[in-house]
Subunit: 615 residues, 2 copies
């Protein structure tokens, strides 16, 4: 049953040789790697607006333009720096790999922790924003956001990714380009209308810039920090250079520029329109939806925008599935995460990482009740920490390589590192209480976990390692020891017969032990035993307190103290396996308790000879 369902949902197992490396053309790579970055225009400008209208007295729209310009400049710096990363790392790999190579263990682990947090947030933010887009269009769905989010995560993203990356990657191209087309038309028509139609009536004071005091500065920086969420995903192309066609690095660089150009255009356009049409927050309707309705009315075009926005946002959530399981597998190979995260499942995907990501993102969404705005408060800080570390690594890299023009490259990455570091500071200060503290707490916790896991694996490896002299030819010797076999017996049955039969096969020194809590029963058992006469003496232990386990354990402990260091004690528990599981409720689980108690003793081995009931 389970297996059939699994085949249906996930597909048949794949052979090792089916792990092919598809090389992507630029136009396809653009849609696959940049859905995360590009789709963020669906919530980025809105988040700036939300921060600015939080000003108590007046709507501070006037500052929206400058904030957007600031973010675009930051985008330029980050993109230029990341093109350097792409060129220096043709084998790909994200901040963790780059930092490990150039800066060492600790910065690499910080990067791993931040990227981990950010991938989970990418999935959570993108899915909840995608749902917000579709709920805006179909208000009947309102109130079911969390259910939709969790369904999308488990029933779509998780399943598609467990099936494997190749099947999912083709689905990227059409929705991404459809989204781009829609947004570009929206912007063009929106701007055209803003000049040709009757001028919009705006309260003049709302567009005015407020007096720039410290409180206002804080609000502006918070708006800037919110807007930085649009920049997550910019690094995706540089991390995936090997997926490009030759010349890989150059193609990756060109694709990055394209992406940055499109992102910049869309970001600026949407921000302008939000300002011009004076969009204000309305519960359960996104700013994009308001904008599209303003420009197209509730026409087919409006629904086209909403549906493609939803699709591209869900695909953006999918980029976390391309990224995190691979990152986890790299970290796990280095011993910082459980080993099984490093092995590919039957469909050649990193199944455990995919499941972990799904559960973590779903948890975040449930805790934050699918509220995009609250989730975004956690977002971006992790990305910018990893940006900073990656750029710093590149400075070290260029300084070490000292190739042609290394000074300029190092300078570029130095500017990148400084700028993104500054952004980390801004986000920390302006959003600390709004959720950034969670991430700043999460990263050290992750580092602690990483090192604890690594420490455990190291200690295990040391303890399990056979000393070198064991590998001298023929060195393996096994000291001879005695073997004591203990069989607890309640009465003479077929199970006991089978157990004794097995006991006689594995040892000569067999002790049958009967724990007695009732004199009469014991008398009968001893009598039967004598008649049956299996050639083994039955040792009777009295238990006036009616306990079964403790007297038996005392007996075993006594034998344990008497035995030599190379002797083994095997306890064989006569047990029968019932045919129906409810039957198990009708029997003592003594065997189970005994097994779980004795597993802690050295040189005591517990074995069950299961007797299978036929009925």
């Amino acid at each position: 049953m389970m297996r059939v369902l699994r085949r249906l949902l996930i597909g048949k197992p794949l052979h090792n040789r089916e792990l092919a490396h598809e090389k992507l053309p630029k136009w396809k790579a653009l849609s696959i790697f940049s859905s995360d970055a590009l789709s963020s225009v669906a919530y980025g400008p809105e988040q700036i607006m939300l921060a600015l209208v939080a000003v108590p007295s007046l709507v501070a729209y006037g500052f929206m333009g400058p904030v957007a310009i600031g973010i675009l400049s930051l985008l330029a710096v980050v993109v230029l720096s990341y093109v350097q990363v792409a060129k220096a790392n043709p084998e790909g790999g994200g901040a963790y790999t780059v930092a490990k190579k150039n800066l060492g263990k600790m910065p690499a682990l910080v990067a791993a922790g931040s990227v981990f947090a950010d991938y989970v947030l990418t999935a959570a933010v993108s899915v909840s924003a995608g749902t917000a887009a579709i709920v805006s269009a179909f208000p009947a769905l309102a109130g079911r956001e969390v259910t939709i989010d969790v369904l999308v995560l488990f029933a779509i993203l998780m399943l598609v990714n467990l099936r494997g990356v190749r099947e999912s990657s083709n689905a990227f191209v059409i929705p991404t380009y459809a989204f781009l087309l829609g947004i570009i038309i929206l912007i063009v028509i929106g701007i055209w209308k803003s000049y040709t139609a009757a001028p919009y009536l705006l309260p003049p004071e709302s567009l005015a810039r407020q007096q720039l005091d410290w409180a206002m500065l804080f609000v502006i920086l918070r708006a800037f920090a919110n807007g930085c969420s649009s920049m997550t995903g910019v690094e995706a192309i540089a991390d995936s250079v090997p997926m490009f066609r030759k010349p890989e690095a150059r193609n990756a660089a060109i694709t990055t520029y394209w992406m940055a150009g499109i992102l910049g255009f869309m970001f600026l356009g949407i921000t302008y329109l939000v300002m011009h049409y004076h969009i204000l927050p309305i519960p359960e309707v996104t700013a994009m939806s308001q904008l599209a309705e303003e420009i197209f009315g509730r026409s087919a075009a409006y629904y086209y925008i909403q549906i493609t926005t939803m699709l591209v946002l869900y695909l953006a959530g999918n980029t976390a599935y391309n990224g995190l399981p691979v990152l986890l597998s790299i970290v796990a190979k280095d011993g910082y995460m459980p080993r099984y995260l490093a092995t590919r499942g039957e469909r050649l995907t990193f199944s455990n990482g995919i499941i972990l990501l799904t559960v973590a993102a779903a948890l975040l969404i449930v805790v934050f009740r699918g509220n995009t705005e609250h989730l975004i408060s956690l977002y971006a800080i992790g990305v910018f920490i990893s940006f900073t570390i990656a750029q710093s690594s590149m400075v070290v890299h260029w300084n070490r390589e000292r190739g042609k023009g290394w000074q300029i490259r190092a300078l570029l990455n130095g500017i990148g590192a400084t700028t993104t570091g500054l952004v980390v500071l801004i986000i920390t200060v302006t959003k600390f209480l709004y959720g950034a503290w969670i991430i700043l707490l999460f990263i050290p916790i992750m580092i602690y976990i990483f090192t604890a896991i690594r420490g455990h694996y190291n200690s295990i490896a040391d303890q399990l390692h056979l000393p070198e002299e064991c590998y001298e030819k023929g060195a393996a010797t096994f000291p001879e020891g005695k073997h004591i076999v203990i069989v607890p017996v309640s009465t003479t049955t077929r199970v006991v017969y089978e157990t004794i039969k097995y006991a006689k096969m594995i040892g000569d020194n067999i002790l049958a032990v009967h724990v007695s809590n009732n004199e009469e029963t014991t008398k009968k058992v001893v009598e039967k035993w004598k008649l049956w006469d299996p050639g083994i003496e039955l040792i009777v232990i009295r238990s006036p307190y009616r306990l079964l386990m403790r007297p038996l354990l005392h007996f075993i402990e006594k034998k344990e103290r008497e035995k030599g260091p190379d002797d083994y004690i095997t306890v064989i528990i006569p047990e029968f396996e019932t045919r129906k599981s409810w039957h198990r409720l009708l029997h003592n689980q003594t065997g189970w308790f005994l097994r779980n108690t004795l597993i802690w003793r050295e040189n005591v081995i517990v074995t069950t000879v299961p007797y299978h009931l036929k009925e």
Copy 2:
């Protein structure tokens, strides 16, 4: 930790010889065995009133007197019949034992099912009524009834009974007599006031008897059925004859008469006062509380009544703890319930039965939200079914014995059986939709469970039974067979060393098996194995689909097909036991999966040689 807590709460284990049989004087036995019956005056008259005021147009108080008289007559019949039971069964035992002896298996199981249901309801009804008494006095507690009920069940009744019956029985005497004293004074003063004080102003039509049509008859019979709940517990003395001082049967009979007299007096008195003071249902205030307030005002006497009522009702709940675990142990000894219900725990109590009762009663209270009225709808029917069966058994008994005056005794019990059978019919008809159907469904379900359990034990006994010829002196022979030992190996470690060492001890035919999902790793492992040279060939199985379990299982299955019927295959899994439980999350649970898969195969034994990590 757990053990210390357990000692504190439950006490130290008791030796078998500490199972003493205390003999009780009549005055003590009365308080211990009749708290259930006597305390029912706290809710019995109220339930009659509730049924009568349910008449749509008018309050049918006028019928309250006749209904009470009817119940008293029934009480007389039941008591006389049960004195017969006490005399005929000096060894005690309830309806189940008596029916098994005289009527056979089926009636006995019906009795067991009904008494089971009734004991659980005794606990649930008494506890919820006790809480209702205290909530009436302290309205601040209102709304927390279910919490209080569940606390009383788990923290008081369960713990006290797990400690043991002797300690709990002494606590019975004072509250029961305090309650009796209080109620008798209440009745005397109440009646005195009813004659001396200014006559109560009552709407005359409410006291008038309505026209007696079919609908009215139904209401009256329902009131009667409700009032029958006062009669549960009357059988307790007859069931416990051996606990009395000599002459046991006579003393038990005298105590029964005393109890019946007191119960009758109180029942009649309370009913009269409820009528006279025209008590009507008020949410969260019991009729008894209204009555006590009417007569004493909110004085100390009022609180005395409420608190002793609460105490005696909780003690009445405790009688279920004296009864049900013993009944379950008797039924379990006959194989109709899981065997472990028949064994005494470390404090000589039937711990499993006590826990079962507590959980069942708590469940009932939670499902019915602590509503005494709704719980009482289920009540009484079980008791009257068991009354009927017990009395019928006695008719058969006297007819078989034919001692002196057997005809009169048989007649007495015959009248008892007929009357109680009629009551079963009345309760079924008038309360079917109000909850009686639950019990009438529960009893056949229980009978099905009883017989299914017995069937399973019989089948097990047959299957496990060694044939008689095995008990001819020296008949035990154990056919010789081969022993194949399979050791799955991932790489050469200390764990594998220990495992091979043990394998060599238990067999000569050892197969080391390595499942390979990576050519490079396998090459290294094979090389190391050759250098180490433990004297066993390493068999390599390729697994291009990266599965570990399935290729190994296929290998074991192949060996299984090849082996002879008396050969054994032992699979020894090299496993290490981590020191901290979270470490376990970092390792594959292959051993666990393997063990759980292979336990279903005949003649394949799975053993773990646990290697204990020191760090």
